[in-house]
Protein backbone atom coordinates (compact mmCIF):
# COMPACT_ATOMS: atom_id res chain seq x y z
CA UNK A 1 0.00 0.00 0.00
CA UNK A 2 1.29 3.43 -0.91
CA UNK A 3 2.04 5.84 1.87
CA UNK A 4 2.20 9.61 1.75
CA UNK A 5 4.81 11.51 3.74
CA UNK A 6 4.83 14.94 5.36
CA UNK A 7 7.34 17.01 7.34
CA UNK A 8 5.74 18.65 10.35
CA UNK A 9 7.22 21.21 12.73
CA UNK A 10 5.63 22.67 15.82
CA UNK A 11 6.95 25.35 18.15
CA UNK A 12 5.45 27.36 20.97
CA UNK A 13 5.80 28.54 24.55
CA UNK A 14 6.23 25.46 26.70
CA UNK A 15 3.21 24.13 28.52
CA UNK A 16 1.88 20.75 29.52
CA UNK A 17 -0.05 18.99 26.75
CA UNK A 18 1.65 20.12 23.54
CA UNK A 19 2.74 16.63 22.50
CA UNK A 20 -0.64 15.18 23.44
CA UNK A 21 -2.54 17.79 21.41
CA UNK A 22 -0.43 17.19 18.30
CA UNK A 23 -0.44 13.42 18.73
CA UNK A 24 -4.23 13.47 19.12
CA UNK A 25 -4.70 15.16 15.76
CA UNK A 26 -2.36 12.67 14.10
CA UNK A 27 -4.11 9.73 15.75
CA UNK A 28 -7.58 10.92 14.76
CA UNK A 29 -6.40 11.23 11.14
CA UNK A 30 -4.75 7.79 11.16
CA UNK A 31 -1.30 9.29 10.67
CA UNK A 32 1.87 7.54 11.89
CA UNK A 33 4.95 9.23 13.33
CA UNK A 34 7.86 7.77 11.34
CA UNK A 35 10.73 9.71 12.90
CA UNK A 36 10.73 12.59 15.33
CA UNK A 37 12.58 14.65 17.87
CA UNK A 38 11.04 17.09 20.33
CA UNK A 39 12.80 19.18 22.90
CA UNK A 40 12.69 22.27 25.03
CA UNK A 41 14.81 25.19 23.79
CA UNK A 42 14.79 28.04 26.25
CA UNK A 43 11.11 28.02 27.14
CA UNK A 44 9.98 27.14 23.65
CA UNK A 45 8.93 23.55 23.08
CA UNK A 46 9.70 22.32 19.60
CA UNK A 47 8.67 19.23 17.70
CA UNK A 48 10.05 18.09 14.36
CA UNK A 49 8.42 15.06 12.81
CA UNK A 50 8.22 13.00 9.69
CA UNK A 51 4.75 11.52 9.49
CA UNK A 52 3.04 9.20 7.07
CA UNK A 53 -0.48 8.43 6.04
CA UNK A 54 -2.17 5.84 3.90
CA UNK A 55 -4.67 8.48 2.93
CA UNK A 56 -3.46 11.19 0.58
CA UNK A 57 -4.38 14.28 2.58
CA UNK A 58 -3.94 17.68 0.99
CA UNK A 59 -1.51 19.90 2.85
CA UNK A 60 -4.16 22.55 3.54
CA UNK A 61 -6.66 19.99 4.75
CA UNK A 62 -4.10 18.60 7.19
CA UNK A 63 -3.05 22.03 8.38
CA UNK A 64 -6.66 22.79 9.17
CA UNK A 65 -6.83 19.74 11.40
CA UNK A 66 -4.31 21.42 13.71
CA UNK A 67 -6.34 24.64 14.01
CA UNK A 68 -7.71 23.87 17.46
CA UNK A 69 -4.37 22.76 18.90
CA UNK A 70 -2.73 25.81 17.38
CA UNK A 71 -5.26 28.17 18.89
CA UNK A 72 -5.60 26.55 22.32
CA UNK A 73 -1.88 26.11 22.93
CA UNK A 74 -0.62 29.08 20.87
CA UNK A 75 1.54 26.97 18.62
CA UNK A 76 3.12 27.63 15.25
CA UNK A 77 2.59 24.59 13.06
CA UNK A 78 4.08 24.11 9.62
CA UNK A 79 3.59 21.22 7.29
CA UNK A 80 4.80 20.22 3.87
CA UNK A 81 4.70 17.19 1.69
CA UNK A 82 7.94 15.19 1.23
CA UNK A 83 8.89 12.32 -1.04
CA UNK A 84 9.04 8.77 0.24
CA UNK A 85 12.84 8.68 -0.20
CA UNK A 86 13.18 11.70 2.09
CA UNK A 87 11.65 9.77 4.95
CA UNK A 88 14.54 7.34 5.27
CA UNK A 89 17.98 8.05 6.80
CA UNK A 90 20.98 6.92 4.77
CA UNK A 91 23.34 4.54 6.53
CA UNK A 92 26.19 6.63 7.99
CA UNK A 93 29.71 5.51 7.11
CA UNK A 94 32.18 7.03 9.48
CA UNK A 95 30.55 8.45 12.60
CA UNK A 96 32.19 10.77 15.10
CA UNK A 97 30.97 12.64 18.12
CA UNK A 98 32.44 16.13 18.36
CA UNK A 99 32.43 18.57 21.27
CA UNK A 100 33.36 22.19 20.64
CA UNK A 101 33.34 24.64 23.54
CA UNK A 102 34.80 27.88 24.75
CA UNK A 103 34.10 31.39 25.83
CA UNK A 104 31.02 32.61 24.02
CA UNK A 105 31.56 34.67 20.88
CA UNK A 106 29.82 35.23 17.60
CA UNK A 107 30.60 32.69 14.89
CA UNK A 108 31.39 29.44 16.70
CA UNK A 109 28.68 27.46 14.91
CA UNK A 110 29.44 29.25 11.66
CA UNK A 111 33.18 28.63 11.52
CA UNK A 112 32.93 25.00 12.57
CA UNK A 113 30.02 24.13 10.29
CA UNK A 114 31.60 26.00 7.37
CA UNK A 115 34.81 23.99 7.74
CA UNK A 116 32.74 20.81 7.82
CA UNK A 117 30.68 21.80 4.78
CA UNK A 118 33.78 22.64 2.76
CA UNK A 119 35.15 19.19 3.48
CA UNK A 120 31.95 17.22 2.84
CA UNK A 121 31.58 16.37 6.53
CA UNK A 122 27.89 15.88 7.15
CA UNK A 123 26.31 17.00 10.43
CA UNK A 124 23.66 14.48 11.55
CA UNK A 125 22.91 15.97 14.94
CA UNK A 126 23.77 19.27 16.59
CA UNK A 127 22.93 20.66 20.00
CA UNK A 128 24.20 23.92 21.39
CA UNK A 129 23.86 25.62 24.71
CA UNK A 130 24.98 28.90 26.18
CA UNK A 131 25.69 28.72 29.90
CA UNK A 132 24.54 31.40 32.29
CA UNK A 133 27.81 31.56 34.18
CA UNK A 134 29.69 34.82 34.77
CA UNK A 135 31.73 34.25 31.65
CA UNK A 136 29.18 32.59 29.39
CA UNK A 137 30.49 29.42 27.83
CA UNK A 138 29.27 28.07 24.54
CA UNK A 139 28.94 24.31 24.13
CA UNK A 140 28.29 22.60 20.81
CA UNK A 141 27.84 18.83 20.62
CA UNK A 142 27.63 17.17 17.23
CA UNK A 143 27.36 13.84 15.55
CA UNK A 144 29.02 13.94 12.15
CA UNK A 145 29.55 11.55 9.29
CA UNK A 146 32.91 11.78 7.53
CA UNK A 147 33.44 10.96 3.87
CA UNK A 148 34.51 7.33 3.65
CA UNK A 149 38.05 8.14 2.52
CA UNK A 150 38.76 10.73 5.24
CA UNK A 151 41.12 9.62 8.02
CA UNK A 152 40.72 10.60 11.64
CA UNK A 153 43.90 12.69 11.41
CA UNK A 154 42.63 14.63 8.39
CA UNK A 155 39.37 15.24 10.22
CA UNK A 156 41.15 16.46 13.35
CA UNK A 157 43.30 18.81 11.26
CA UNK A 158 40.19 20.39 9.72
CA UNK A 159 38.58 20.83 13.11
CA UNK A 160 41.80 22.04 14.71
CA UNK A 161 42.25 24.76 12.08
CA UNK A 162 38.67 25.95 12.49
CA UNK A 163 38.80 25.94 16.29
CA UNK A 164 42.12 27.79 16.46
CA UNK A 165 40.62 30.59 14.36
CA UNK A 166 37.93 31.21 16.97
CA UNK A 167 39.90 30.16 20.03
CA UNK A 168 37.70 27.31 21.24
CA UNK A 169 38.51 23.84 22.56
CA UNK A 170 37.33 20.64 20.96
CA UNK A 171 37.44 16.90 21.28
CA UNK A 172 36.54 14.04 19.00
CA UNK A 173 35.47 10.48 19.70
CA UNK A 174 34.74 7.79 17.16
CA UNK A 175 31.24 6.41 17.60
CA UNK A 176 31.43 2.67 17.57
CA UNK A 177 28.32 0.59 17.66
CA UNK A 178 28.59 -2.62 19.59
CA UNK A 179 26.48 -5.19 17.76
CA UNK A 180 25.65 -7.57 20.58
Amino acid sequence: MDKYFYALTVIGRDKVGIVASIAEVLYEKGISIEDSVSTLLGDQFTMTLIVSSEKNYGVLELKKAFAKARRDLELSVSLRRIEKEEAKTKEPENLYSVSVYGEDRVGIVYFVSKAFAENSINILDLRTRLTKSETPMYVMIMEVDLPQDMSEDEFKKILDDACKKINVDYSVRKIETYEL
Partner: protein
Protein backbone atom coordinates in the same frame (compact mmCIF):
# COMPACT_ATOMS: atom_id res chain seq x y z
CA UNK B 1 22.99 -29.47 17.72
CA UNK B 2 21.50 -26.71 15.67
CA UNK B 3 21.67 -23.12 14.62
CA UNK B 4 18.52 -21.63 16.10
CA UNK B 5 16.37 -18.73 14.97
CA UNK B 6 16.91 -15.54 16.94
CA UNK B 7 13.89 -14.41 18.92
CA UNK B 8 12.99 -10.89 17.81
CA UNK B 9 11.27 -8.25 19.93
CA UNK B 10 8.25 -7.87 20.59
CA UNK B 11 8.38 -11.59 21.42
CA UNK B 12 7.52 -11.68 25.15
CA UNK B 13 10.21 -14.27 25.86
CA UNK B 14 12.72 -11.41 25.73
CA UNK B 15 11.00 -9.77 28.70
CA UNK B 16 11.01 -12.80 31.04
CA UNK B 17 13.25 -13.46 34.03
CA UNK B 18 15.08 -16.67 33.21
CA UNK B 19 15.34 -19.65 35.53
CA UNK B 20 18.55 -20.56 37.30
CA UNK B 21 20.24 -23.77 36.16
CA UNK B 22 20.14 -26.23 39.10
CA UNK B 23 22.25 -28.96 37.56
CA UNK B 24 24.05 -29.68 34.32
CA UNK B 25 21.73 -32.12 32.51
CA UNK B 26 21.15 -33.01 28.87
CA UNK B 27 18.84 -30.05 28.42
CA UNK B 28 21.51 -27.61 29.71
CA UNK B 29 24.10 -29.18 27.42
CA UNK B 30 21.81 -28.97 24.38
CA UNK B 31 20.98 -25.30 25.03
CA UNK B 32 24.69 -24.52 25.40
CA UNK B 33 25.45 -26.42 22.17
CA UNK B 34 22.73 -24.56 20.26
CA UNK B 35 23.89 -21.21 21.64
CA UNK B 36 27.41 -21.91 20.40
CA UNK B 37 26.20 -23.13 17.00
CA UNK B 38 24.10 -20.00 16.65
CA UNK B 39 26.98 -17.77 17.81
CA UNK B 40 29.24 -19.34 15.18
CA UNK B 41 26.61 -18.78 12.52
CA UNK B 42 26.90 -14.97 12.81
CA UNK B 43 30.30 -13.65 11.89
CA UNK B 44 29.90 -10.35 13.75
CA UNK B 45 28.04 -11.56 16.84
CA UNK B 46 30.03 -11.76 20.08
CA UNK B 47 27.36 -12.92 22.50
CA UNK B 48 23.99 -14.65 22.71
CA UNK B 49 21.78 -15.28 25.71
CA UNK B 50 19.51 -18.33 26.00
CA UNK B 51 16.24 -16.33 25.81
CA UNK B 52 17.40 -15.06 22.41
CA UNK B 53 16.92 -18.61 21.12
CA UNK B 54 13.74 -19.02 23.13
CA UNK B 55 15.13 -20.94 26.11
CA UNK B 56 14.27 -19.20 29.37
CA UNK B 57 17.29 -20.34 31.41
CA UNK B 58 20.37 -18.54 32.71
CA UNK B 59 22.98 -19.44 30.10
CA UNK B 60 24.98 -17.11 27.87
CA UNK B 61 27.78 -17.63 25.40
CA UNK B 62 30.26 -14.91 24.57
CA UNK B 63 33.38 -14.49 22.46
CA UNK B 64 34.77 -10.97 22.64
CA UNK B 65 37.79 -12.03 20.57
CA UNK B 66 35.61 -12.12 17.44
CA UNK B 67 35.55 -8.32 17.37
CA UNK B 68 38.58 -6.12 16.92
CA UNK B 69 37.46 -3.98 19.86
CA UNK B 70 37.82 -7.04 22.08
CA UNK B 71 41.30 -8.06 20.89
CA UNK B 72 43.29 -6.67 23.81
CA UNK B 73 41.25 -7.99 26.71
CA UNK B 74 39.18 -11.14 26.32
CA UNK B 75 38.73 -14.61 27.75
CA UNK B 76 37.93 -16.22 24.42
CA UNK B 77 34.83 -18.28 23.80
CA UNK B 78 32.92 -19.02 27.00
CA UNK B 79 29.76 -20.85 27.94
CA UNK B 80 28.57 -19.25 31.17
CA UNK B 81 25.95 -20.87 33.40
CA UNK B 82 24.19 -18.69 36.00
CA UNK B 83 26.51 -15.75 35.29
CA UNK B 84 26.47 -12.99 37.85
CA UNK B 85 28.21 -9.63 38.10
CA UNK B 86 29.73 -9.40 41.57
CA UNK B 87 31.37 -6.00 41.34
CA UNK B 88 31.63 -3.16 38.90
CA UNK B 89 33.37 0.18 38.69
CA UNK B 90 33.71 3.19 36.41
CA UNK B 91 31.20 4.03 33.70
CA UNK B 92 31.54 4.18 29.93
CA UNK B 93 29.05 5.17 27.32
CA UNK B 94 28.55 2.68 24.53
CA UNK B 95 26.35 2.65 21.48
CA UNK B 96 24.74 -0.74 21.30
CA UNK B 97 22.68 -2.76 18.92
CA UNK B 98 21.17 -6.21 19.40
CA UNK B 99 20.28 -9.18 17.18
CA UNK B 100 16.87 -9.27 18.85
CA UNK B 101 16.18 -5.58 18.15
CA UNK B 102 16.99 -5.10 14.46
CA UNK B 103 17.65 -1.67 12.98
CA UNK B 104 17.95 0.24 16.22
CA UNK B 105 20.94 1.44 18.20
CA UNK B 106 21.16 3.59 21.29
CA UNK B 107 23.60 5.13 23.73
CA UNK B 108 23.85 3.17 26.94
CA UNK B 109 25.89 3.65 30.09
CA UNK B 110 27.77 0.52 31.16
CA UNK B 111 30.33 -0.33 33.78
CA UNK B 112 33.82 -0.24 32.33
CA UNK B 113 35.15 -2.92 34.70
CA UNK B 114 33.30 -5.90 36.08
CA UNK B 115 33.99 -8.99 38.16
CA UNK B 116 31.88 -11.89 36.97
CA UNK B 117 31.12 -15.29 38.46
CA UNK B 118 29.74 -18.26 36.52
CA UNK B 119 29.74 -22.02 36.24
CA UNK B 120 31.12 -23.97 33.30
CA UNK B 121 29.54 -27.05 31.72
CA UNK B 122 31.34 -29.31 34.21
CA UNK B 123 29.74 -27.41 37.07
CA UNK B 124 33.00 -25.73 38.15
CA UNK B 125 32.78 -22.20 39.50
CA UNK B 126 34.93 -19.50 37.89
CA UNK B 127 35.38 -15.79 38.39
CA UNK B 128 37.41 -13.21 36.54
CA UNK B 129 37.84 -9.46 36.12
CA UNK B 130 37.52 -7.87 32.73
CA UNK B 131 37.05 -4.44 31.24
CA UNK B 132 36.11 -2.55 28.10
CA UNK B 133 34.41 -4.38 25.26
CA UNK B 134 34.20 -7.78 26.97
CA UNK B 135 32.72 -6.17 30.11
CA UNK B 136 30.04 -4.50 27.96
CA UNK B 137 29.23 -7.77 26.19
CA UNK B 138 28.81 -9.54 29.54
CA UNK B 139 26.48 -6.87 30.91
CA UNK B 140 24.39 -6.85 27.73
CA UNK B 141 23.99 -10.65 27.70
CA UNK B 142 23.36 -11.01 31.44
CA UNK B 143 20.68 -8.30 31.14
CA UNK B 144 18.87 -10.61 28.68
CA UNK B 145 18.52 -13.19 31.47
CA UNK B 146 16.53 -10.64 33.46
CA UNK B 147 14.33 -9.52 30.58
CA UNK B 148 16.27 -6.27 30.18
CA UNK B 149 17.01 -4.94 26.70
CA UNK B 150 19.56 -2.21 25.97
CA UNK B 151 16.59 0.04 25.23
CA UNK B 152 15.72 -0.15 28.93
CA UNK B 153 19.08 1.43 29.70
CA UNK B 154 19.02 4.30 27.22
CA UNK B 155 19.05 7.67 28.88
CA UNK B 156 17.34 10.61 27.20
CA UNK B 157 19.96 12.42 25.18
CA UNK B 158 18.93 15.85 26.32
CA UNK B 159 20.30 15.21 29.80
CA UNK B 160 23.78 15.42 28.25
CA UNK B 161 23.43 19.15 27.97
CA UNK B 162 20.91 19.90 30.64
CA UNK B 163 21.40 22.97 32.73
CA UNK B 164 22.89 22.34 36.09
CA UNK B 165 20.49 22.79 38.96
CA UNK B 166 21.03 25.97 40.95
CA UNK B 167 22.34 25.36 44.43
Amino acid sequence: MAVRDIVIYPDRRLKEICAEIKGIDDYTLSVARDLLDTLHNYSHTVGIAAPQIGELVRIIVIDASKNKKGQKINHGELVMINPEILEWSSIIKTREGCLSVPDYTGNVNRARKVTVKYYDLDGNEHRFDTEGFEAVVLQHEIDHLDGILFIDRIISRRTDLFRRKNY
